[in-house]
Symmetry: C2
Subunit: 437 residues, 2 copies
């Protein structure tokens, strides 16, 4: 993409309304535009990141055997009356009346809707287990929306629902999601710790939060230091196998958020305790028959009886993750994208697009990189070098290639790594080889 054509409205000034670094950087990098309180438009650069995060979340759900569908944003109040949550949910639920004065709502979560789909179509243990998920916008009417996409009102969530005939099956589904979540966050470049959690308004009695570590994180967390060394990406996972030993490896070591923290554990761990700051990016729940019983979602058993189906739900805040990744990866110049979610892999800076040799060298590099399948943003604007460098640092693409008059004469360009600041002068062919490799 050529920057002379691309819609990338970067800002020099820090917007005053943004209190946290990810919000500031997303506004300054032209990733989002506020549409209403807690409601954002994703501009082209931000949209690319959102889509990449979404795709990694999707791939790991598919790998774990979950099947994707798509439920609507608007739901009927009737289903929520069946579960008893319509009255309970409180003011965070956006309640709506349609033209016929029917009570509707903008879904904050989807247990009722998926239970309705389930009970209509699945009647037998033979059709179980089932893991169904969707990635859809949700709305929660927060009193004071703030922190940009980290606590927006309209937000993109991946929610999975599991259906099993008994507890043993439900536990297997829970374990699949537990491992899939670790894989997902690791692929995004994040260090994640699962922590035992309160079950809250979803209910149930088995629940973990997935917390990523970031110095600017919203809450304090405590954990055994060995948890930081576990490598889930290097582990081949067979989702058909028994995952309990792998889950146990993670859950046997101490890890807790501030509100669940146990001073006795802290003492016992001594210098094996790590204290850090964290951000919640996922939450998984087993809640058994909490919804299936009142909503009459039953299945026949192998013995010929009929039982309410055992359910769990598993959420990842997809739009929130974009903010969380920035909280984990930035410096005072801007964002430092992990490669898997970078909006472009390479920023090609042409210092003198008005100079014929520079223009030819830059255009040729741009063409060759694109032909090699590299996602490249080409700064071909007629701007000061300083402004170009500042924008490139701000939007944080993993690699920068700088083409200038001196290098062009020598047949070279500068290749620079955003994360380290390290750079080297390479021949144009070597630049292509390194980036297309």
């Amino acid at each position: 993409m050529r920057l002379t054509e691309y819609f990338l409205p970067t800002l020099k000034e820090t917007p005053s309304e943004a209190q946290i670094v990810s919000h500031r950087l997303m506004l300054r990098a032209g990733m989002i535009h506020q549409a209403a309180a807690g409601v954002y438009s994703w501009l082209p650069l931000g949209f690319r990141v959102l889509k990449k995060v979404e795709q990694i979340v999707r791939e790991e759900q598919d790998a774990a055997g979950a099947q994707e569908l798509l439920m609507p944003t608007i739901q009927s109040a009737d289903l929520w009356r069946e579960s008893g949550r319509y009255e309970d949910y409180g003011k965070e639920m956006l309640r709506i009346r349609d033209r016929h004065d029917r009570e509707m709502l903008y879904g904050p979560t989807n247990e009722e809707l998926i239970a309705d789909i389930f009970r209509t179509h699945i009647k037998s243990y033979r059709n179980l287990p089932k893991l169904l998920y969707h990635i859809q916008w949700k709305f929660r009417d927060e009193v004071r929306p703030r922190f940009g996409v980290m606590r927006g009102r309209e937000f993109l969530m991946k929610d999975t629902y599991s259906f099993d005939v008994d507890y043993a099956g439900a536990r297997r589904s829970y374990n699949k999601m537990f491992i899939a979540y670790l894989k997902t966050f690791a692929r995004l470049g994040l260090k994640t710790i699962p922590m035992k959690a309160e079950t809250g308004p979803i209910g149930g009695d088995l629940s973990h939060e997935f917390i990523i570590l970031a110095d600017t994180g919203e809450s304090r967390v405590f954990c055994h230091k060995d948890l930081l060394a576990f490598d889930v990406l290097g582990t081949e996972v067979d989702y058909a196998a028994d995952l309990q030993p792998m889950v146990d490896q993670w859950t046997s070591l101490y890890a807790a958020t501030d509100d669940m923290h146990d001073a006795a554990e802290e003492k016992a761990l001594g210098d094996r305790l790590v204290t850090a700051r964290g951000i919640e990016v996922g939450h998984i729940f087993y809640f058994g028959t909490k919804y299936s019983k009142p909503m009459n979602a039953t299945v026949t058993t192998v013995e010929g009886g009929s039982v309410p189906v055992e359910m769990g739900s598993y959420g990842i805040g997809v739009s929130r993750l974009v903010g969380a990744i920035i909280e984990a990866f930035h410096d005072d110049k801007g964002i430092i994208w992990p490669e898997p979610v970078a909006p472009f892999n390479v920023g090609l800076v042409n210092l003198r697009p008005d100079d014929r040799a520079c223009a030819e060298a830059g255009d040729s590099l741009y063409r060759r990189l694109r032909r090699a399948g590299v996602e490249v943003l080409y700064d071909d604007r007629d701007e000061r070098a300083g402004a170009k460098f500042a924008d490139m640092e701000l939007i944080g693409l993993p690699w920068q290639v700088v083409v200038g008059p001196r290098g062009v004469k020598a047949g070279t360009a500068e290749l620079k790594r955003r994360a380290t600041g390290g750079s080297e002068e390479l021949s144009l062919d070597a630049v292509i080889d390194r980036l297309a490799g």
Copy 2:
């Protein structure tokens, strides 16, 4: 995907509430589940089709130089007051009050929101032209929602907005979308005719509807028969070139919907007139400064002045298209998917999964087809052959491969084309070669 694991709830009976064939077939094929009046969940099979249609729409927008972003579903009423449409829009707009009693709405379209993004960030003719689009759920509170996804209340729309400094530029943008739309629908396997249209509530003075031809279409259309012979897929399009001659080729011949039809033209055309039934799947508008003027979205000109930006908007009903494609391609047994949007390309039917030789042959074909990159749905259920064939015909995958005891003994399987019913007995290797080709 193995059918023993897949969530594909096909129905034998025709649901009584469905009045048109696409609605009936989508319910029977387990593609959708009604969540509320005019609001649907897309079950896994339907979701796959929706995503494929969306992706083709996206690719053709990108090819035409449009840039993707994503605006939210919930909008503030304030912007709509600026344009004057908040009062005008009527009961189709789903109006909402949040917990602070602020007036919000579920976007039925996005002219105001995109004009707000534009005026905030773009000030100069130097940053023009711009084509920005998103693919997002919309809500229109129809009095009597019906016809399934063909006239739902919550529906997926691709809407593009063009911004130019003058009419000549706006016309170029309009032409890009005109051609991109023809390409899009052709890639979906549809025969499309652009027809001059009323501009309606969006306003403006240049507008075309894109009508696909289907025997069960909602309205009568009339056109010059030569329009049916134009081949847009075979034409290489350079979007940087002047597209006016190409657009003129289409618009110079008579084409009109029922309400715009001119009896005099009918007489003049004689036997060159084709009468058919059609379905609207896209609509493009040039409306100039209708929104930019009241909303004060201005740009500086090359002469140093300042003018309201010239706008157009361009919509494709993505979810509606899924229904429209079924209206165009079905028979009395079920859907007949065009290959580019088929949920799977191949349905592999194992007639005797309980027979060891059949199970081995079926499983091996399944593995080999998948390894060759073929999307295959494998019916490995323990069901009567008749039920399996009926389901395969109903869901309408382009190819069927049937493995049975007789064929397995001879080392062959039956390869069948859904569209023609034609079949042949081939060696297993030949089946792979044909489908992976």
